[in-house]
Symmetry: C2
Subunit: 220 residues, 2 copies
DNA sequence: AGTCTATTCAATGATTTTGTTGAATAGTTG
DNA sequence: CAACTATTCAACAAAATCATTGAATAGACT
């Protein structure tokens, strides 16, 4: 049957896309690349895996057209092909978190990092910043901040936070964000700030989520 | 390292979602279920696979919380858990088609079904229906129409089309849709209608795409 | 209660995926 | 052009996936 064959081919092709991120390490790669382009070596460190394996995973992602690469000097730089990939990651997270949330509810665990749960969303941020003057800090590595950040955010990478506490006011609310819902950098930042008697809240959304929101607004 | 372990678990969980649809048959199952709930037996026929295998695939989807099931008399009915699943499928198709389109461009093939390419989108439909009075027909099985359809659409399942041609006018533009971009039912309908000298165009989007559009509009 | 039937479970072998190590490649830089 | 280096290729063994067949289950009807 010709129809069936075409149909099969199409579903085959579609599942190749999801197969590409059906592996935890590849999912992580895509998530890291959502922030900014990186070389194979950097990625290999980030996901703690041998370069050879990292390279292979990247090739799988490339063949599914989720990432692209170009050469820069000695390095090969990988990046996300376009913003539909961001959407894909965002939807998968949405679906994945339903499950994770349920597991946590069942186990009753996750108390150790409970302050991670006390976080606001992008919408909260926008609403809140209209009422009061808040300080928004981006605690990702500086490179990622430079590659793009939420307007009015100040870059204070987590690693530098301890030394730069004097730049922050104690009479204002500080909101910290990082790579998005999966990332713990902002949670660490909040922990430190609260210890030092700052008023600080974590925002779970990151730059990617902000960017996707812009897309939506522009469309309508 | 505790952090790394949590991180790994999270990515593991996220990739379980994508793993669930990283198989062509499971992708097809989700796509079919996007239209309407079905029993295991019906699904098994639809995707031409043994009941045992179909059941197993459904369980994978269920454990990823992409589908849910309940009993109705002798049958177990499977359905999509919620509309985020529709979003997932929609994004995956968007990404998958980039690849498919490129392959077709490279091979230069696909001439046999060329009229599939001459199709309009949901936006085109909306714009066009403001200017002229068009006839919109839904050629999916009647069950799926009953489960939900685009407003003002008339149900004429593909199987009945030949007998019901007299219900359609020749002096108006007829637009046919089915399950969405992957589905060939509307293409078959267009072929028949054009042979019989109707003015008929295929719309590649289906009810699911319409529904997702409503969500977006409601959000802003 | 007993039969019937849709669905699920279990076991199997063929095939694919995974991550590693060590060698090969290609391209840059001095 | 020679040396260097980041990246990719190749080969391997362990582990996971896939679709099938045949048996088991669980619930619905008479």
């Amino acid at each position: 049957m010709a129809t069936s064959s075409i149909k099969e081919q199409v579903y085959q092709e579609l599942s190749r896309v999801t197969h590409a991120i059906s592996n935890p390490k590849r999912m992580e790669l895509i998530d890291v690349l959502s922030q900014k382009s990186y070389s194979v070596e950097e990625l290999s460190n980030e996901i703690t895996m041998s370069m050879a394996s990292t390279s292979q995973h990247l090739q799988v992602l490339k063949s599914a057209k989720l990432v692209d690469s170009y050469r820069q000097g000695n390095f090969i730089i990988y990046s996300i092909t376009d913003d539909s990939v961001l959407k894909l990651v965002s939807v998968v997270k949405e679906l994945g978190f339903r499950k994770i949330a349920e597991i946590e509810r069942l186990i009753g665990d996750f108390k150790a990092d409970k302050n991670i749960l006390e976080s606001i969303t992008l919408d909260d941020l926008l609403a809140r910043s209209k009422k009061e003057k808040i300080i928004l800090i981006d605690v990702r590595p500086e490179d990622e901040y430079k590659a793009g950040h939420i307007p009015n955010a100040v870059s204070i990478p987590l690693a530098q936070l301890k030394k730069r506490l004097n730049e922050l006011p104690k009479n204002r609310t500080i909101i910290a964000y990082c790579r998005g819902p999966l990332c713990v950098m902002s949670a660490d930042a909040i922990k430190l700030l609260n210890q030092r008697k700052f008023t600080a809240i974590r925002m779970e959304d990151g730059y990617v989520e902000w960017k996707l929101k812009q897309h939506e607004i522009n469309k309508n």
